[in-house]
């Protein structure tokens, strides 16, 4: 697969569902595996807050643990700021993505017509 096709595929995977915005803030003991991937330890106590925002009908569902709400107001605020910014980010990214996909498709067409690829 060419690099451009690869980018196009990854882009389509990355934007599977732009109508629902998921913001999750979770707290616990973290593990880092050999590939540098960071995950929560399964055995640790997990606190946190999750938000699911439906951008079409405007429904917002938020779940938050009591401990998290009481002890970490800064994190609650940070989480909320991500919610607030989500719509703007989608808009800005989609605008850039439309242009990027257009440009990549243009390159592919050009290469197809020249038989160069």
């Amino acid at each position: 697969m060419s690099k451009i096709d690869d980018i196009l595929n990854r882009l389509s995977e990355g934007i599977k569902d732009i109508t629902v915005l998921n913001i999750n803030t979770v707290m616990g003991q973290l593990d880092i595996d050999e590939n540098g991937k960071i995950t929560l330890q399964a055995s640790s106590n997990i606190d946190g807050m999750t938000s699911k925002i439906d951008l079409i009908d405007g429904d917002i569902t938020t779940n938050i643990s009591t401990n998290f709400y009481e002890k970490y107001p800064e994190l609650v605020q940070f989480h909320q700021s991500r919610e607030a910014k989500g719509g703007d980010i989608i808009e800005a990214n989609m605008s850039a993505l439309t242009s990027i996909v257009g440009a990549l498709t243009g390159i592919n067409k050009l290469l197809d017509s020249s038989g160069d690829s």
Binding site: K3, N22, Y72, E74, H79, K85, G87, I90, A103, D116
Partner: protein, 540 residues
């Protein structure tokens, strides 16, 4: 060109660009954060301590532009240090101040003032010395030369072209007819040369000029070369004229034409730099308007006379038109008109410049006890280059040989912009290829945010505290502004790729990357100023 080549080649281009010089260390020495020693002797710890002190002073100085960029320190400390150390030592478009510092201050503004006074030969104490009576005395001298108050005078030194223009417009023309002695000066001269110099002098000075009369009496009307060296000796000791000699030396240094010591002394290197300026002017202007050496310089009896009025007005001021930021657009336009052979030649010449820059270790150094530094501002050099941009396509090879000092300054700026443009592109592609992670740590505390293109966000925390959350929040905000910039670069560069279907178009592509990088940077600067982004100073 195959699509794999498009991206791979850009990555290779990035790797092949000249390495950054150790510019930050030079500026830290210039501003007195490090002693004037050979930069190679400093340990990493010494440099790090100096950088911290520099950043602390920048924060305290409360410069508006730094406040906007303070968050970038978290991500790209080196770029921020480079940008602001360069800005603090810039005399093309340097800082202007609202007030002079309080006595005893050793902060950033006091250092910049001392640095500029030292450049103009008015300061001999350490740059980090406290702002005090000696500073006030030196500023008074500068103010006297400029015929304005001290604050306005030091602000004038933020723009060397401006101060030159102001002096030319306000001082009598004869104040710029300069005399200096040097053992290195060739005593021989020809009558024809004397007449040329005299002819220009009569043209530039009013007929009742006291200098002109003295010159005629002591140099022109004497028989058998019995010049009155007493007249020349007195002239060579005039304080203001020595200040103008220093000013011209600084001009020459800025353009890469002079790499000797900035000491106000005129020897072979200074004279050669004036000859190089004549040569560069030849490329720059029409035949009639050209600066002529025999009208500019006269060698008499161990002295050299320089018509600084003619030089400053003709070479430094009159020839500079248009904006330097248009240079890349102008090269792009010329390249788009050029035929394939010309483009290929241009490409080869740019490769040659790249190789020479990579091979050249351009570092400030201490030679015979003097600190030889390289000027790093680019406004003036780009403005001049704009005047003969047509020759960059056809005659770049010849210019490399004849005016290397100048050409390397222009292309260093080009490679810097290209590097930053490609870097932003790569950042954007990374974001497109996978999840973007922002990680903030403090001891055992972690806060990690993973972002996806569709704005989904996962925040993972371990033992968070309020400082960590605040830092992370700032980082996230900055990263999103930077990401938008990178995505814009991706869009623009991919669009350029569509046109770049052959290797022959590669030079066009590179120059267009630089062009769009400059344009998008300008747009983002405006955006930042208009929305007045909240910034906080973060200590990491």
């Amino acid at each position: 060109m195959e699509d794999n080549q498009l991206i791979d080649r850009l990555e290779n281009e990035y790797q092949s660009l000249p390495d950054e010089t150790d510019e930050i260390v030079q500026h830290l020495i210039e501003l007195g954060y490090l002693p004037q020693l050979n930069p190679e002797v400093f340990t990493d710890i010494q440099i790090s301590v100096a950088e911290e002190a520099f950043i602390a002073d920048l924060k305290q100085a409360d410069f508006e532009d730094f406040k906007r960029d303070a968050l970038a320190l978290l991500f790209d400390r080196r770029s921020v240090l480079l940008k602001y150390s360069r800005k603090a030592t810039d005399i093309d478009e340097g800082y202007v101040f609202e007030n002079l510092p309080m006595p005893g201050s050793t902060g950033m503004i006091a250092r910049i003032i001392h640095y500029r006074l030292e450049l103009f030969g008015l300061w001999s104490l350490p740059i980090h010395a406290p702002y005090g009576k000696i500073t006030a005395r030196a500023l008074k001298q500068l103010a006297l030369y400029c015929e304005m108050d001290e604050l306005s005078a030091i602000n004038q030194t933020a723009d060397i072209e401006g101060i030159s223009r102001m002096l030319i417009e306000t001082r009598p023309n004869e104040d710029f007819i300069l005399t200096f002695s040097s053992a290195q000066i060739d005593k021989k001269y020809k009558r024809k040369e004397l007449n040329s110099f005299y002819g220009r002098l009569k043209n530039d000075l009013p007929t009742d000029s006291a200098f002109l009369k003295k010159f005629e009496k002591n140099v022109i009307d004497v028989k058998k070369r019995h010049f009155n060296s007493g007249f020349l000796s007195v002239e060579s000791q005039d304080d203001f004229k020595n200040f103008v000699i220093r000013l011209i030396q600084v001009h020459q240094w800025q353009e890469g034409l002079y790499d000797g010591n900035l000491d106000g002394k005129v020897g072979d290197v200074s004279i050669q730099s004036l000859r190089d300026a004549v040569e560069l002017d030849r490329e720059n202007t029409g035949k009639k308007e050209r600066l002529k050496e025999k009208e500019l310089l006269l060698f008499v009896d161990g002295y050299c006379l320089l018509n600084g009025y003619y030089f400053l007005r003709k070479y430094m001021l009159e020839s500079e038109e248009g904006s330097g930021t248009k240079l890349w657009e102008a090269i792009d336009e010329q390249l788009s008109r050029a035929d394939q052979e010309e483009r290929q030649t241009y490409l080869q010449n740019v490769e040659e410049i790249k190789k020479r820059l990579r091979a050249e270790t351009e570092k400030a150094k201490v030679v015979n006890g003097f600190f030889r530094r390289i000027y790093c501002g680019i406004k003036k050099v780009l403005k001049r280059a704009l005047n003969f941009v047509k020759k960059f396509i056809k005659d770049l090879g010849r210019l490399i040989k004849k005016a290397w000092g100048f050409i390397k300054r222009v292309f260093k700026a080009f490679f810097e912009d290209l590097k930053m443009g490609i870097k932003a592109f790569v950042e954007g592609v990374k974001f497109l290829f996978g999840r973007k992670e922002i990680i903030t740590t403090e001891g055992n505390s972690f806060l990690i945010s993973k972002f996806q293109l569709d704005a989904d966000c996962l925040n993972l925390c371990q033992d968070p505290n309020s400082v960590l959350v605040q830092n992370h929040s700032n980082k996230t905000r900055y990263q999103f502004a930077a990401m938008n910039f990178s995505l814009r670069m991706v869009v623009e560069i991919l669009n350029i790729f569509i046109k770049a279907v052959s290797v022959m178009l590669w030079p066009l592509l590179l120059i267009q990357i630089v062009k769009v990088f400059k344009r998008i940077s300008e747009e983002f600067k405006k955006l930042k100023s208009s929305v007045n982004l909240t910034t906080q100073t973060i200590v990491t």
